[in-house]
Each structure stands twice: as C-alpha cells, then as structure tokens.
Assembly symmetry: C2
C-alpha cells in the first residue's frame, strides 16, 4: 500500500500541532472564544502566531479542531438496571476529575454561551452521543424527555462545579454526589411511579 505515513516523515509538525491544540483547548476553556487570542495560544505553545494560522487556517478552524469531542460513553448493557444512575455519575466524576480529563468539554462549555459554533457542536454531541445511550438504558415511555432531564442535571453539575466553581458545589464530596445525583438520574431513567 502506501509507504511511510506523513507522520513518520514529518514528525515535528504533528508534535507542534498537538502543542498548539493543547494550548488552544486550555485557553478556550478558561477565556472563552473571544477572550482567546491567536497570540496567546502561540505564546503558550511556544511558537510564532503566524504558525497557528498556517496549521489551522483561521481562528475558527483552530476552534473547530480544538473542540472535537468524543464523550466516550461506554456500553452499559452489563450494568444492573438498578445501578445505572450511580454508575453514570461515577463515570462522570472520573472523567472530569481524572488525569485524562481532557479540556475539550470545558472548552465547549466555556465558549458555548457566547459562541454559535460551540453551541451547535454541543447540541450535536448530545444528540448523537447521549440520546442513543439513554434510549438504550431508559425504561421510561418518553426517552427524549428522559435524556433531556438527565442532561440538565449532569451539565448543571459540570457547570456549577467545574466552570463556575461555586464553593458549595465544589465542596461536595464525590460520595455524596454519587449517591444523591445518582438517585436523581436513576429516577429520570426509570421513574418509580
């Protein structure tokens, strides 16, 4: 087939490309779209601003590349139905507080309120990734309503704990979140009434 890949022949480019992306995600997450400047990204990536343009064409292109997002929701068919809520919340906490957190979702959440592209990306992500997952797990009649309720609680937790960092929410111990929010999700998934 094809010989060596482009990555093999020009390893430097992919490394700096990754460096730029990491810097961009970090800044988009904390400063939002407009608050993030090409120059600041370049400085944090330790490279000249014009290179950012050459790699990603424009600021919009940079954001599009930086906000590529895969929630990596696992298959939950093995989980006991009664433990779905807690399992989902535990997974959520691990993802946000673990080392492999990644800055894509914070970047999207930070930018979405004021940036149309970020908002549309988020809408797409939840429609394509969360919707089907809930549809497989929920026992409720109206699965779309069910997914919407779950998203409202999960994103609310992410928003208040990791974006706004409201002290009371930050102070919540993971066990309490697992138990309480887990019960909420469980109830949304399969109402007892």
């Amino acid at each position: 087939m094809s010989g060596r890949s482009r990555t093999d022949r020009f390893p430097r480019s992919v490394e700096t490309r990754a460096r730029i992306l990491a810097a961009a995600r970090s800044l988009f997450a904390t400063q939002g779209y407009r608050g993030t400047t090409i120059r600041a990204v370049a400085a944090e990536a330790d490279i000249h601003p014009s290179m950012v343009m050459r790699y990603f064409d424009s600021k919009e292109g940079l954001f599009a590349a930086a906000a590529e997002l895969d929630l990596r929701l696992p298959d939950l068919s093995d989980v006991k139905p009664a433990e779905l809520g807690v399992t989902l919340v535990r997974l959520f906490l691990e993802r946000w507080e673990g080392a492999d957190a990644g800055d894509e979702l914070p970047a999207l959440l930070g930018a979405a309120p004021t940036n149309a592209a970020a908002r549309e990306r988020l809408v797409e992500v939840f429609k394509m990734q969360v919707g089907p997952m809930v549809a497989r797990s929920a026992r409720a009649e109206n699965k779309e309503q069910c997914a919407a309720l779950i998203v409202s609680q999960m994103l609310g937790l992410a928003f208040t704990r990791y974006i706004l960092r409201l002290p009371a929410v930050v102070a919540l111990p993971p066990e309490v979140i697992e138990r309480e929010v887990g019960a909420t999700i469980q109830n949304y998934l399969m109402p007892e009434r």
Copy 2:
C-alpha cells in the same frame, strides 16, 4: 427634607441611563463580556459611545450596573413542606419565561464562564440569597450540601434550556419539568431515606 430628587430635575438622563442598561443586559447575555462592545451598546441604545463612558465610567462599571441581580425569592414558610420542590420549580419557570424575566441572570450566566467579575457576582448571589432560603426550608442534616445540589439542578436547567437551548430540553413541557425536577428538588430538600 430634601427637595426635588435628581430624577425630577433631570428626567432625560435617567431615561437614557435605563436605555443603556437595557441594551447592555441584552448584549452581555448573548455576546458575553468581551463580545459586547461599548459601541454596540451605544448603537442599540441609540446614543453616542462616549455617553456610555460618562454614565458608567468604564466597561467594567457598565457591567457591574447591568448585572445587579436580585433573585426575589419569596417567603416559603406558608408552603406545605411536601410541596416545596414543585413550588420552587414553578416559580423558577415563571421567572424565566414570564414577561418580567429581566436579562440580569442570563447576562451573568452568559458572561460568568469567562469573566471573573460575573463569576464572583454569581457566587455572591447564591451564597447570600439561595443559601439562607434553603437553610430555612430544608430538613436535611447538611444544609450547605443540600443547597449545592439544588443549585446544580436549577442552574443546569437554566443553562441547558435558556442559554444553550438544547432542543430536547427546550421541548420539555412545563408540566413535565414541574413534576420531574420538582421531585428532584424535593428529594434534595428532604431525603426520604
């Protein structure tokens, strides 16, 4: 005591001042802090940009004035304890979807992810207004945890429905929100276990 108020003597100024504030709130809500320019505010208020500066000293001053926020949480001591959750959610919906909604909270939510002043203001608001209200109503042992959980769900609903406008969340009928989210809040307020 004092003679005529400043408002009586210079009615024109207070009217344009209000016009500037309304324009500022609307723009801060949709464009965030950095995305909102003095010139854009002035244009929407139909006045010269320099006047915005004279009225509010600086962009920061304008934001501080535009983000003055009173959640106007009512006294809930007359409400039956078992109906606190639903009552709170109904109130929340009326406030956000009613005519007297006001743009202060959207402005704060839109700006908070990327603006320190907005974030601190929100932290303050929830500490001073939501905290005490929950403390009076909750039966749980740890009232601060209780308030944090409630805020995470309520702000999550506001964020996904009115800021992100995720289609599935927007589509939720008010009755469903009242019933489902109301049950969640009720459970946070006074757990059955």
